[in-house]
């Protein structure tokens, strides 16, 4: 019965075609370093899932942000687990993204015809760092506040446009409610939209072009 339903669906949706294209790809003999992209994708999905759950309690307001996170950690069932996964997943994702980039670089996998894959990858690295930067402020504790003060102040050192960028990030001259809310907006809507959109392009290109082999000595 289940097989008949699957056949019925497959005939209409082309599931087998999708499965074969996406997962049954021909790949050269490679090593574990080639799993870093998948690991990063897995972490991105975990971050999205746990992040969505965190918004059920988190309030992006200076009076309540810290208290609401305390509530998640101490009073909500498994709140420590959901936030813990989000917290450590963020750090881990930055690590896997960078390792993934290093592998691509040292194996020369960014060369023809994969230049665009590399460019979208650079964008994904920047967005991932942006996610880390904006998420870091959200607990609104001393560390978050001062880290963001320092981080946004660094942009001020850029010649000519520095002060403008600093104020644009902060939503004013100082860190305030506006900073917290715009960082929250960037963290849960703007950056994730870009992130998952570009991940789509990145993966399309990986599937379309196939993955490169490990370079041999005479190359």
């Amino acid at each position: 019965m289940a097989a008949r339903i699957l056949t019925w669906l497959d005939e209409r949706l082309g599931l087998t075609g999708i499965y074969k294209t996406v997962l049954d790809r021909k790949v050269p003999k490679v090593n574990w370093a080639f799993t870093l992209g998948s690991a990063t994708l897995f972490l991105a999905i975990m971050q999205a899932a746990t992040g969505i759950f965190l918004t059920a309690y988190y309030v992006p307001h200076p009076d309540q942000a810290y208290d609401s996170i305390n509530y998640i950690m101490n009073d909500v069932a498994f709140g420590w687990l959901i936030r813990g996964i989000h917290h450590w997943g963020a750090t881990l994702m930055v690590i896997t993204v960078v390792l993934h980039m290093l592998r691509t670089f040292f194996y020369g996998a960014y060369k023809y015809p994969r230049e665009v894959t590399w460019l979208t990858g650079v964008l994904l690295l920047l967005v991932t760092l942006g996610m880390g930067f904006t998420g870091y402020l959200l607990p609104w504790n001393q560390r978050a506040y001062w880290a963001t003060t320092v981080g946004t102040s660094i942009t001020e050192t850029i010649p000519l446009i520095g002060p403008f960028i600093n104020q644009a990030l902060r939503g004013g001259t100082d860190l305030s409610t506006l900073t917290l809310v715009r960082f929250f907006s960037a963290h849960i809507w703007m950056l994730p939209t870009v992130l998952f959109g570009v991940i789509g392009v990145h993966i399309y290109l990986v599937i379309r072009l196939g993955i490169s082999h490990v370079p041999s000595e005479d190359e």
Partner: protein, 166 residues
């Protein structure tokens, strides 16, 4: 690759597929099951903040027989990480035998607040035009039962009501 053939009962490919499935299911369960508890957690908490107490409304000597009078008070309670103030309204009517009718002003239909209309001699709920008589009985409207009453006592000329909240 003869050793991986299906004649051994389990091919390398189906072994890997199975392991991936089991691991994936395990990870989904580790995140998914706690997530259900996480979302439901505050809803299922049997109110540690729930309390019952005698609340003083005011001196009985100011009450005129047969004239409903509204007493209002607020009680704060901890909800989540915030202290929230709830306001309560209580109508008290002194009866000729010096007993009292003590009504909650919460409409028994859908919890809007009723108010006493002297000129109509009725409690009127503004939401769906529910009307109650001075003794709390239903006059007209969609409400399923008369106005709710509070248990009360008079001590040294002060009227107290017994407030229970979930």
């Amino acid at each position: 690759m003869a050793h991986a053939g299906p004649e051994h009962g389990l091919s390398r490919r189906s072994f890997v597929t199975g392991v991936v499935g089991i691991l994936g299911g395990f990870i989904a369960a580790v995140v998914g099951l706690p997530a259900i508890g996480y979302l439901l957690s505050p809803s299922l908490k049997s109110g540690s903040s729930s309390k019952e107490e005698w609340v003083p409304l005011g001196p009985t000597e100011e009450l005129v027989t047969g004239e409903p009078r509204l007493f209002a008070f607020t009680r704060t309670k901890q909800v989540g990480w915030e202290r929230t103030a709830n306001s309560y309204g209580v109508y008290v009517v002194r009866k000729p035998d010096d007993s009292y009718d003590v009504f909650s002003n919460v409409c028994t239909h859908l919890s809007c607040r009723v108010s006493w209309k002297e000129e109509e001699n009725e409690y009127v709920c503004p939401c769906h035009d529910g009307r109650f008589a001075k003794d709390g009985a239903i006059v007209s409207g969609p409400q399923p039962r008369p106005l709710d009453r509070f248990e009360y006592k008079v001590e040294e000329g002060t009227l107290f009501i017994y407030l229970t909240e979930a």
